[in-house]
Each structure stands twice: as C-alpha cells, then as structure tokens.
C-alpha cells in the first residue's frame, strides 16, 4: 500500500495504469503533463513515481531536473517508462534520480505490478 503518482500524457495508458495499481490497493494520483506533475509531486509527496519520459511541453527528464527528487524527496522512488530509442534520456533520468526503467510497450499489467512491488520493497535507490 503506497502512494503512487502516475505521470503519463497518453490518457488511455494513464487510465490503464491507474486501474491496475488501484486494484493492487495503492493510492493513486495522476498527472498528464510535467507541469501538473511538479505540482502534485510537491503536494502529495508520493512514495513512488511512474514517469513517462516522452511528454510534450516538459519531458520526463526536465521534470526530474526541476523536481530534484534526490535532494528534495530522497525517499521517493522513481520508475521511468522508456522506449528503445531513449538511451540518452534514460541515462539522464538516472542521473537525476530515477532508480529503474521499464519498457512501456512491453509491460503487461502483471509485469507492471511486479516492478512496482519490487521497487517499493527495495531499500536502496
């Protein structure tokens, strides 16, 4: 049972992830863009953030740079959604506080739940 923030600009995917994680018993809040995400991040102080890298207006990496979780919220775990061509972004995201990444297109609901559970359970970043 954790507080999870989902940051994903595609509504249909956002809703699917919300459904999956709520079913697991987590408390879920959502944001569809980086700006809103910053707001919710500061407000809700989630235990875990599911962060999409590719978003219009503000990318996942930009969000991390502005939110600076390693400094401001060191206890929060960040999982980033990525695709194959995001190698540079993935590296940048890890530099700014991400602890794990999953390939968005390849995660079934079961897999998503598993990764979230493992990340929450792990004590180190």
């Amino acid at each position: 049972m954790a507080k999870i923030l989902i940051v994903e600009d595609e509504k249909v995917l956002n809703e699917a992830y919300e459904l999956i994680l709520k079913k697991e018993g987590h408390k879920v809040c959502v944001a569809f863009d980086g700006a809103k995400a910053l707001e919710m991040f500061a407000e809700q102080k989630p235990d875990l953030v599911l962060l999409d890298l590719r978003m219009p207006k503000m990318s996942g990496v930009e969000f991390l740079q502005k939110a600076n979780p390693s400094k401001n919220f060191p206890k929060t775990k960040i999982i980033i959604f990525s695709n194959y061509d995001d190698q540079k972004e993935i590296d940048a995201a890890f530099e700014h506080g991400a602890s794990r990444y999953i390939l968005k297109a390849w995660s079934s609901p079961k897999e998503l739940v598993k990764v979230v559970r493992e990340t929450l359970a792990s004590s180190d970043k």
């Binding site: 995917l13 194959y84 390849w106 079934s108 609901p109």
Partner: protein, 404 residues
Amino acid sequence: MYYKKVTKRAKVVKNYSKISLPLMHNLTELVPGMVALYNIRTGEYIYVNQSIKKILGYSPNDFMEKGIEFVASLVHPIDLPKIIKKNDEALKRANSVGQTTNDSDPIVSFEYRMLHKNGSWVWLHTDGMVYSRTSKGKVEQIVNVSMDITKRKKTEEDLLKLTTELVALNTSKDEFVAITSHQLRTPATAVKQYLGLLLEGYTDKVTEGQKVFLDLAYENNERQLHIVDEILKITQLDLDKVQLRPKIVNISKVVDEAVDALQNNFRSKQQKIFIKKPPSIVKAFVDVEHLRTAIENTLENASQYSYEGRKIAVTLEDVESVVNIKITDEGVGIDSSDFSKLFQKFSRIPNPLSVEAGGTGLGLYWARKVVQLHKGDITVESKVGKGSSFTISIPKKNKASKRA
C-alpha cells in the same frame, strides 16, 4: 607528336607567311577547342584559331588585336584570381626547370568561366603548354588549348542539386517512418494493457472460448509491437542516431551468448549447432549488445531457412587484424542474383521453405548496418539447394563510429 614538331619549328613559326596559312587554318579549324598562342612577356596573342567564334562569339582578330588584358577582362571575377595564381606558379616551375623533353606536357590546367560575346557564361577547360623559350631558356610563348565544358558543368550542377534533394527526401522519409511508428506504438500499447487486464481477471472471469480469442489477440498485438520496435530500431540506424558503446571484448563469449539466445529456435527444428573456435582468446573493440544482435539475426536467418534436423556451423576465425564469424547452414540456399536483395529492408526471396512472414525482413539489413558501423561487413556465399555461408568480418582495432 604534333606539339613536339611545333616546338622544334618555334623559330619558323615567327615567319608566319612561310607556312601555308590556309592549310593551318583548315587544320586548326578541325580542333574542337580553342587554340591560342600568346607571348607571356608582351601579352600579345600571336595566333588564335577560328573555333573562338563558336566558343566565345569573338573573332580571332578580336583577341589578337586586344591582347591578354582584354582576354582577362572576360574571365569570371571569382575565377580570375585563381587562374592568375596557378599560372604564375606554373611559370615559376617551368622557368626553374628549364627546357625539358616534356615541354609538350601541359604545365597548367584550369577550369573557369569566360563571358561569351552574347553575354552568357561559358565554362572552359584550358591546358597550357610551353611553346617556346628564350635563348636563356625562360618561357616565352605559351599555347592554350581550351575546350567548352559548359554542358558538363551544368550536368554536374544538376546532379549535385538532385543528389542533395534526394538525400533530404530520404531523411524526411525516415523521420516520417519514425514518427508514425511512435504514434502506432501508443494505441498498440494500450491494447496490450486492456487485453492483459481482461486476461488477468481484472474484470469478470473470461470463458474458455473467450480466452482462446483473447490469447490470439494478445499474441498478435505483441507481433505488432515487435514490428514497430524493429522499424524504430532501423530508423535510428538510418537517421544516424545509433550510439555505439564499444569496448575490448572476448568475441568467443559474444558468439556463445548469441547461440544461447537462439536455443529455442534451434530446438524447435531439431537443428544441431557446431561451434568452432581458435585455441587462443580472440578480442576486438566492439559494442557487445549490437554485435550480439547482429550475430543472432544471422543465426535466426540460418535456422529459418534450413530444414529440420539440419546442422548449422558457427566458426570463429582470428585472421591477424580481423575477426571473422562464419555462419554456415545446409539450408535452401540463395541464388547469386538475389545477393544484393538479401540485405535490403523487407526483402523476401521466394524459396522452397516458404517461410511465413514471422519476422520483419529487417534482421539482415540491421545486422549489416551495425557491422558496417564497426567498419566491418557481412558477406555471403551460397548455392541454391546446398546452403549458405554468411561471414561477419570486423577489424579488431577499429574506430567504431560512436555515431554513424
């Protein structure tokens, strides 16, 4: 031959009237280019042939009366300084070298524009030859033979323009493919999620019948996602966005890993793999992930196009500065006329195994491009009905481009 004879008779030419002028005019008329003889000390044009009329619209007299200053005034302002410099350097060389038997060879060549009498620009190619020297051996007279190359220059310009356009078009095509593939991926991912939710019991329990259809849908959705992945990987290559991370690696290990990754393919067709390696360790500077995938793609090909129970041999060769990974199968083989198609995108060569379109037809294209990024190549030898042999060659110490 002609030039040598003329040089010998340099002194005779001064007495023009001694040679039949009509004969000379007739002969030089036949030369498709302009022939001009001028004195570099006086700047005087001693002789210009009739072709000048065709090429520049002027008469020989126009040049002969007005001399080199007039001629220079017709040269394109951008080209003139270069010509002057080249000419001066050539003269210096010719003067320091002195009379040689090679005076008939051009001492200088240049391409430049001159203004036609009608106001249009003409591209010329001129060769300058030493015609006569002073008693002290210094160059006195030069013969310039000039050809009109305007047509050729225009063709070159047009070609360059076309090539630039084509390259731009190709890039925009690749960008379009990348964007569209990304866009396809999103709804395909959503489908995956919702099918997953159905299959994993997030709503009402599904019946057996429903599960069968849902499984099929899920499987095909995975295929969709796989194809999109492949296309995106390839557009990355085509758009020169691939970042290689090479390091010194034991190639033998990479080969083993690649073979391992395809165990299911081999097992399902009862194909036997034989790996042959040299006694000592073979190392090379490569990007492990990319090389392994290239080997996997080639192995997958070998498996797909071989019958059941056949053998596939993987040979690692250390050839001084190069590493060879040879994959030989006893499969359907490829006709040599199809070799060029093999490494193209989406190419499908008809064959007796009529392999169903399980793959994307992109494996070999990707493999070769990646190997080429390592400054290597993939070559093929094959005989229809007997089998094929693909060789991945990579220089051990290569400046593997981090970006294509």
